[in-house]
Amino acid sequence: MKTAIAGKNKKTGLKERAYKTLMKESTAGVVFCLPFILGFLLFILIPLLLSLYYSLCKYNIVGEARFIGIQNYLDVFKDDKFWKALGVTGFYAVVSVPLRVLFALIVALLLVRDTKVTPIYRAMYYLPSLLGSSVAVAILWKQMFAYDGLINAIFGLKIAWLGETDTAIWVLILLSVWQFGSSMLIFVSNLKQIPSSLYEAARVDGANSIQNFFRITLPLLTPTIFFNLVMQSINGLMVFASGQIITGGKPLDSTLFYALYMYNQTFSYNNAGYGSALGWVLIVVVALYTAILFKTKKYWVYEGGL
């Protein structure tokens, strides 16, 4: 009997202590982050390590993986198509991302004022982005730029947009620029947070709206511009669907996106080991690119901005 009571006491003591620990800030932090910690281990880290292992193997998905050391990585750098794909993707990201951010900013400036019809305007400009990289949009785009497609019909042109090495990539860039909606929304919400008192003070000083833009709006927006650039660049370097469905990398590999090449190697040609190696190289490239962007931050991003 006695021992039972003692046991009970001990139990409540434990409970209390557990409760106290649970209430501590450091514990609470871990508890709140637990989903991510588990998720990262289960759905990201393990697959990632597996893919690292596969990148050191000859692996055709269907059969067994056979360890071959760093051979795949050596092959990557000797592979002309790798360099081609890297170049194409780099060009795509470097051109389309700034354009996309620029358009988003311009339209956001247009749509920041609240009139009755503004929600409708916003919907109009955001609609293309809603469709994302869906199959339907890719096919729509392909048909618009077909030789007998909408664009040639409207402008009376005879250009095989998707068949010429110097135009095909621009068609895909245009698609990316067309979908500037999410960046635009981020700009709109930030523009709204700029206190109107700043503009009033400037008006008292006799500044016109162009000066306002360059002296107040733009500096305050630089952190948002930076955020958009980083996010869009990452997405840009990983672009896949539009290349796969619209051009399939043609003509002459002029739209062979890196992720597409990786996918083809993995699934179409059953070189999953090589595909994984390509993937790891891409991770390094994305990380480097992001790091470089962050390095430039101190030169043009206004720290006190929104």
């Binding site: 209430m23 800030e25 450091s26 609470a28 932090g29 508890v31 709140f32 982050c33 989903p35 991510f36 910690i37 998720g39 990262f40 759905f43 990201i44 697959p47 990632l48 893919s51 596969y54 247009l110 305007y121 916003r122 919907a123 109009m124 400009y125 955001y126 609609l127 809603l130 469709l131 994302g132 990289s133 869906s134 199959v135 339907a136 096919i139 729509l140 048909q143 618009m144 077909a146 007998d148 497609g149 909408l150 019909a153 929304l185 919400s189 709204k192 947070q193 952190p223 948002t224 996010m231 990452i234 990983m238 992720a259 990786m262 993995t266 999953a272 595909g275 994984s276 991770i283 994305v286």
Partner: protein, 280 residues
């Protein structure tokens, strides 16, 4: 005054015109879906169909091997809604932890969140597939939904974290003095204020899942389980004939839910997005 009015008119005309150009391709798609399938590309430059026909919608709706398009829509809805709810819930938890609580390893965790944004999906596709297969999840919707309960979409967590950081800290302190635990601060104070950001994340997540194509392709193994994007692709097999009329018609149908969601949640989209340090 007159000048101001003129500027206003110019503004509206300009915005409307550009907006029209933006959505012209979509209008074209809608109109094309009403044309006879054989004439879509012959009359590409004409917007208004010569004969309006619903044949494409009827053909498309029939779907494949006796599974109608309605089934695909139902499946996609199921996946997208569950995934959306889980994403919102888990991202909110993690975002709060990262934004407001101090604990060991927080910076590392945040770096990992950022890392998930930088991972090309294709690289973990095969390992993840094999892994889910071990769990017996292939040919179920689990691979598309369960991971969402673990906040592994960095972008969503990042958005919410920024939003929470923008909320005034004083509320926190006041609540703490009142004896609230960190858990009840989250449920009583943060959650109600977090609604706009949750709305934003909900929309992004819904749209992502609605359009997702690779996971259904890998994981769903029979037609009655297919989702909309998989079914749409089936209309245009490169190695045999494609029915573009039906494809466009069903593409239009598949856009309706996305557009509806957008219209109802538009408000949140602007309010809910926020970068660091606002109202500071």
């Amino acid at each position: 005054m007159a000048r101001k009015k003129r500027r206003k008119v110019v503004y509206h005309i300009l915005t409307m015109l550009c907006g029209f150009i933006m959505i012209y391709p979509l209008i074209w798609m809608v109109c094309s879906s009403l044309k006879e399938s054989g004439t879509i590309f012959l009359t590409a430059s004409e917007l208004i169909p010569r004969n309006i026909t619903f044949e494409n919608f009827i053909n498309g709706w029939q779907g494949f091997s006796k599974v109608t398009f309605g089934v695909f829509i139902k499946n996609t809805f199921l996946v997208a809604i569950i995934a959306m709810a889980l994403t919102v819930a888990s991202s909110a938890l993690v975002a709060y932890g990262l934004a407001r609580l101090r604990f060991k390893g927080k910076n590392l965790l945040f770096a990992l969140v950022l890392l998930t944004m930088m991972l090309p999906g294709e690289i973990v596709m095969i390992p993840r597939y094999l892994w889910f297969n071990k769990l017996g999840w292939v040919n179920t919707y689990l691979p598309m939904t369960v991971p969402c309960a673990f906040a592994i979409q960095g972008f969503m967590v990042y958005q919410m974290k920024n939003f929470i950081e923008g909320l005034p800290r004083e509320l926190n302190e006041a609540a703490k003095i009142d004896g609230c635990s960190y858990y009840s601060i989250f449920t009583r104070i943060i959650l109600p204020l977090l609604k706009p950001a949750m709305g934003t994340v909900a929309i992004f997540s819904f749209i992502n899942n609605w359009n997702d194509y690779m996971s259904p392709l890998l994981y769903l193994k029979n037609v009655p389980k297919y989702t909309v994007s998989l079914a749409l692709k089936l209309f245009c097999d490169q190695s045999s004939t494609s029915d573009y009329g039906a494809m466009f018609a069903m593409a239009v149908v598949s856009l309706i839910p996305v557009i509806l969601i957008f219209i109802f949640c538009q408000r949140y989209l602007v309010e809910g997005i926020s970068t660091q340090g606002l109202k500071g």
